[in-house]
Every structure is written in structure tokens, then in C-alpha cells.
């Protein structure tokens, strides 16, 4: 047995307050499992934002449509990584795909993930980019033109009927995609919400709370990326777009906050067997991450900032600054939400008589560095995607560029 691990657990044993079952000393789902729902939440949220353009025909936020899709794809591609790294036997992961246990919520991961990636996201992106891919295949030079041709699956038809079909397909996929995005993240919430052994997790509201917080974080990350990308490219931000998305963000935060408040009040009022230990959990272990970061910094202050930015007729620059501050605080808050669910649910004993401690590793597979790497990876993937798939329709990239890839400065 690893002596370092023994020492670490012995230290944790000293920090136990009250009584815990002996096997509970080890925190089994740690940093990587905090990252996982955070990342899938961003996927679902970004996709739902993209859907607003196509299904509800909200034209103001069109500038972020492609960015939302690519953001969703970048994060979705990375989403299984934290799960895989966390397994005791990562090389056996395929068992979950080949011989899943039909009664296990977790075994559905492969199906939900594959459905969402293959039947929704890749398909919608393909239809959205098909015309551009054909155009870019024509204008790009050697290795890239073959690549684009392959990406377009060798389709050539850019007739009006074909393009009309693309638009219709996108519409249908988006309509299927919204419930699928709900499924993707609602399902992650169900993994926790269905654990009856754990009163901090076991709640029918859990999938819905997960979903709303996913929408909040997804919208916030797209706003963040949109503001950063336009700044990097030296382009003006379309304030109509920004104002509109931040209104959606505002409503989403309100709904998310109300749901979490409902969950809290419901627990307090029902006052079940677990209420005392959960109270202690909040005051002794989660005060900083729940009350200060999640609720105050991550919800109430950004709500105040958004109200301020909407109510007062500030100039564009000040509004941008306020929006930018709000979305960063909201990201922090949603990450804290994931932390409080995943780690918080493992800091009290199922005997309801004691509290455990969690000490984050820095090195090691479950450590901070790996988690930061996993969190940074989607941004690298997104950078590559943005290089290959410009977010502005292709006609603006002049064909006389002589086959060069449209430079990123030309895209929005």
C-alpha cells in the first residue's frame, strides 16, 4: 500500500468530527468528478443558447450561434476525459459501453453521450458548415482542401434546394437537440439525485437544478468567449447581441436561484432525519464554497450587477465591463455549485453523526494540476476548431484570397 496515501488518510482521520463509518474516511469522488458535471453543463448550456437562434428565431444573438456550437463540441469532446482518468481501471472503460448494466444510471453514459455527439451536435454542425466546407475546399490549398472535402463528406451540391434542405435539417436537429441537451445534463444530475443513501444528493430536483445551472454556465461561457474573441480580433462587439444574451443569462440565474432556494427551504421545512448533519455540513464545511462563493459571489452579486447594467443607461464600455465581471463571477459560482454537490455530499457520514474532511492533492491523477489541465483542454480544442471552422459565413472570406484559410481576424 502506498505509504503516502496511508499518511494522508491518517491525517484525515484526525480531522473527523463526531462519528463516521470507517470506510467513509476516503473521499472517493474528488476533483475530477467536480470537473465532469461542470464541463457537461457548459456543453448543454452552450447548445441551448445556440438553439434559441434556430428554434425561437432570436436574430440578435446570431453572432454567437456558431461560436456556441463549437464551444459545445469542444467541451463535449473533453467531457469523458475526467471520468476516464478517475477510474480505478481506465483500461476497462469499454465494459461500460459493451456490456452495460441496464439498471445503472451511470451505464447510460455511453448512450447519452453518443446520441448527443453523433445525432445532435456533429450533425447540426455539419449541416451548418456544409456549404462553407464546400466553398473552403474549393479555395484552400493542398492539404487543407482535401481535409475540408473529407469534412464535407464529399458533398458538392450548393444549389438553393440543397441549402434549403440544410436549413430545414438544422431546424429539425435543433428541435431534437433541446430535449437531448436537457437529457445530457439532466442525466448527470440524475446520477447524483437518484442516490437514496445520500440525503445531500437524493432529491428529485437535482436533475432540474443541474440543468438550470448548466444553462447559466453555458450562456456565461459563450458571452465570455465572445467578448474575449472579439477583443483578440480587434472587432467591435455587437452590443444588441450582448444585451440580449445577458438578459437571458439574467433570467436563467433567477430560475436557477429560485430552484436552489426551493430545494433549501424544502429540506429545512421538511426537517427530516438528516437535517441536523446537513446544517452542520453547511456551517462547518461548506460555508466558504456554498454561502460565500456559490450564493453571494456566484449569484447575488452578478444578479445585482446585471440589474444595474440593465436599469441604468450606462455607456457601452461600462456595460461591457459589468457584463464581463458578471460572467466571470457566475462561472466561479457554478464551479462552486459542482464542488458543493460532489465534494459536499461526501463530507458527512451516512450515520448522520459526523463530518469528514477533504484535502485536495496538487500532484497526482486526482490532483489540482490534472484538473486544471482538463479544464484548459477544451479551450485548446476550441482554438483549433475556430481556426478550421470560421464563425462567419464564408462569403465574407473573399475567394480571391487565393486558397488561403480565412485568417482568424476575419471571423467573429
Amino acid at each position: 500500500m502506498n505509504p503516502q496515501m496511508t499518511q494522508g488518510l491518517a491525517e484525515l482521520l484526525e480531522q473527523v468530527t463526531g462519528f463516521i463509518f470507517p470506510n467513509e474516511i476516503e473521499i472517493h469522488w474528488s476533483m475530477l468528478i467536480v470537473v465532469y458535471p461542470y464541463v457537461t453543463g457548459l456543453v448543454a448550456g452552450a447548445f441551448i443558447l445556440a438553439s434559441l437562434v434556430k428554434v425561437f428565431n432570436i436574430q440578435e444573438i446570431q453572432p454567437t450561434y456558431r461560436l456556441s456550437l463549437l464551444t459545445a463540441l469542444a467541451f463535449l469532446l473533453v467531457a469523458p476525459l475526467p471520468l476516464l482518468l478517475h477510474l480505478g481501471h481506465p483500461l476497462r472503460f469499454y465494459e461500460i459501453l459493451l456490456t452495460p448494466n441496464p439498471t445503472s444510471a451511470m451505464a447510460m453514459f455511453g448512450f447519452v453521450y453518443a446520441w448527443y455527439l453523433m445525432a445532435v451536435l456533429l450533425l447540426e454542425i455539419w449541416f451548418e458548415y456544409r456549404r462553407d466546407l464546400i466553398a473552403m475546399a474549393r479555395s484552400a490549398s493542398f492539404p487543407l482542401n482535401v481535409f475540408y472535402r473529407a469534412l464535407s463528406l464529399f458533398s458538392q451540391d450548393v444549389s438553393q434546394e440543397a441549402l434549403a434542405f440544410d436549413r430545414k435539417a438544422i431546424h429539425v436537429i435543433t428541435i431534437v437537440g433541446i430535449p437531448s441537451a436537457f437529457l445530457l445534463h439532466g442525466y448527470v444530475g440524475f446520477i447524483f439525485g437518484s442516490v437514496k443513501a445520500n440525503p445531500w444528493w437524493g432529491s428529485v430536483l437535482m436533475p432540474i437544478v443541474f440543468l438550470m445551472s448548466a444553462i447559466v454556465s453555458g450562456i456565461a461561457i459563450v458571452i465570455f468567449l465572445y467578448m474575449v474573441l472579439t477583443a483578440l480580433r480587434g472587432e467591435p462587439i455587437e452590443m444588441a447581441c450582448l444585451d440580449k444574451i445577458t438578459s437571458y443569462l439574467f433570467y436563467a440565474v433567477i430560475v436557477d436561484f429560485s430552484l436552489e432556494a426551493l430545494d433549501f427551504i424544502h429540506r429545512l421545512y421538511q426537517s427530516e432525519e438528516s437535517v441536523k448533519i446537513l446544517g452542520k455540513l453547511i456551517t462547518h464545511k461548506l460555508f466558504m464554497s456554498l454561502i460565500v462563493i456559490q450564493i453571494l459571489l456566484g449569484m447575488l452579486i452578478p444578479l445585482g450587477i446585471l440589474v444595474l447594467a440593465k436599469a441604468r443607461r450606462f455607456n457601452d464600455d461600462l456595460r461591457k465591463l459589468l457584463y464581463f465581471t458578471a460572467v466571470i463571477l457566475i462561472q466561479l459560482g457554478i464551479f462552486a455549485t459542482r464542488w458543493n454537490v460532489v465534494i459536499g455530499g461526501q463530507l458527512f457520514s451516512k450515520s448522520f453523526r459526523g463530518l469528514m474532511s477533504y484535502k485536495m492533492e496538487v500532484m497526482g491523477i486526482e490532483g489540482l494540476l490534472v484538473a486544471l489541465g482538463v479544464l484548459a483542454l477544451p479551450f485548446a480544442v476550441l482554438a483549433v476548431l475556430l481556426r478550421l471552422l470560421p464563425t462567419k459565413p464564408h462569403e465574407e472570406a473573399a475567394p480571391e484570397l487565393g486558397g488561403a484559410l480565412p485568417p482568424p481576424a476575419r471571423t467573429a
Binding site: 496511508t6 482521520l13 470506510n23
Partner: protein
């Protein structure tokens, strides 16, 4: 058809010797499996013993709280028998000590943790105190089996909930789903591990290690399908309670004289 032929053949060859031997063996074992077919058993094995058929059994355990003296022999024997790491973080079974003071405050300690600092002598008057041995409840409706994504943990036909460590991927969902804290991740195999009722012993007709060493017979192991088993007698003679019945896990570890403070 084949079975009948094998039965007849076996009976003709081994009837005299096998019948007598198995009858004697059963006598010696305290008629533990008297639920079986009357008369001579079909000779499935050359020694006349019936081949072990899991479907004929359903195992459970009874624990008589008032008999437990807190000697911790069960927890020690379990670690030795089952290669449980000898550190105070992993247990297949352990013993809790409850001390309930007159002001109704409850103090619970795990006496299996070993060299932990003794709690200071409490000046309050003790109302009642008792020990509670804990282990996997081998639930008939086990949440751990439900959530395992790859069916690595499963219920055997004879009612034991066990883990296939060749199949377990180490996701630890079962550990989260167990309301009793009975599971841990084995630090060597990186797979989920737990009490098996000493399945390797039980199928040979032996008792689980913890039951074997208990000096006061506070633990009773037996076959719920056998009317003559000690466990069935135990459940007939005592008022029985299980842990966390509200969770509908249907435990097969039955406690007699269980206090309401125990979760």
C-alpha cells in the same frame, strides 16, 4: 433426462456408502441442511456429498446485540481471512460502541479503529451502552448492484452480494450508493471491495470467519431456506430489526435488541 440417468447411475453405485456417509455428516453438522430432500442425497460427487447448488440456499446473518462484548475478534479475523489492508481505513466488518447519557446525548465510537486516543471519562451518568457489529447487509434489494455500470457487483443465487474484481472498473458508484458504508476501494486492486459472507468458506460448508471466532455467539450465520438452520431459529426466537429499513434495501443481516439510535 440426462440428469435422471446420472442420478440413477450415481444412486446404484454409491447408494449404500454415500447414503450412510451423508447421513452421518449431516448429523455431525447439526442438521444444518435438513431442508434438503429426505432420504439419501443424490450422489453428485464421488464421496457421496451432494454437489453444492447455490439455488438451494439463501444466506443471512443474525446479530444479537446483547451478546456482543466488544472484543473486536470478528473485525481482526475478517482482515486476516480476507486480505483487508491492516490500516484503519478499510473494513469489511467493524464494531461500534454506543454510550447514551442521561441527557440523551449519544456518543458513538468505532472500537475497531485500533490505537485511537481513549475518550476522557465522562462525568455524566450513562443511561445505557452497547456494542453493534456492522458488516455488509447483503440486501435483497441492493442499491450497489443496481448502480454498478458493468454488473461487476451482483447477488449470487444463494444471496451474497459480491464483487468480481476482474470486471470492476473502479468507478466507485457502488460505494456512494451503499447506505451502510460497507464498501471501500481496495488500495491494491483498485476495485470495490466488501464483505462476501466469506463466500469461499461458506460454499465449503464452513462459517464466515467473524462468526467462527465470535466467543459469545453474538453472530449467527445460516441458511434462510433451511428450516433447521440456526438463523431461522434466531429469527423465530427474537424480535428482529434491520438497519435503515426506510430505504427499502431489505437487508439480510438481522439484529436482535437493536437500539433506535443505531443507523
Amino acid at each position: 433426462m440426462n440428469e435422471r440417468r446420472a442420478f440413477l447411475k450415481g444412486a446404484i453405485v454409491f447408494f449404500p456408502a454415500g447414503g450412510i456417509l451423508s447421513a452421518l455428516a449431516r448429523e455431525a453438522a447439526g442438521a444444518e441442511s435438513a431442508g434438503g430432500p429426505p432420504g439419501p442425497a443424490p450422489a453428485g460427487q464421488p464421496n457421496g456429498k451432494k454437489a453444492y447448488n447455490p439455488a438451494d440456499h439463501l444466506y443471512g446473518m443474525g446479530i444479537e446485540i446483547d451478546k456482543c462484548i466488544g472484543c473486536n475478534r470478528c473485525a481482526v479475523a475478517c482482515k486476516a481471512e480476507n486480505d483487508v489492508p491492516d490500516v484503519p481505513f478499510y473494513f469489511r466488518t467493524w464494531v461500534e460502541r454506543y454510550t447514551i447519557a442521561r441527557d440523551a446525548e449519544v456518543l458513538v465510537e468505532n472500537i475497531s479503529l485500533g490505537s485511537r486516543k481513549e475518550t476522557a471519562q465522562d462525568v455524566r451518568e450513562v443511561l445505557r451502552t452497547f456494542f453493534v457489529p456492522k458488516l455488509c447487509n447483503h440486501c435483497a434489494n441492493p442499491p450497489c448492484v443496481q448502480v454498478c455500470p458493468v454488473k461487476a457487483t451482483f447477488t449470487t443465487a444463494d444471496g451474497a452480494v459480491i464483487v468480481d474484481d476482474k470486471r470492476c472498473i473502479g468507478c466507485r458508484y457502488c460505494i456512494q450508493a451503499c447506505p451502510y458504508g460497507a464498501r471501500y476501494l481496495h488500495p491494491k486492486t483498485k476495485t470495490a471491495d466488501k464483505c462476501t459472507f466469506c463466500y469461499h468458506r461458506v460454499v465449503k460448508g464452513l462459517q464466515p470467519a467473524c462468526v467462527e471466532v465470535c466467543p459469545t455467539q453474538a453472530r449467527v450465520f445460516g441458511d434462510l431456506k433451511s428450516k433447521a438452520s440456526r438463523l431461522v431459529r434466531f429469527t423465530r426466537m427474537n424480535k428482529i430489526h434491520v438497519l435503515k429499513p426506510q430505504l427499502n434495501t431489505e437487508p439480510k443481516v438481522y439484529y436482535a435488541q437493536l437500539d433506535g439510535e443505531v443507523r
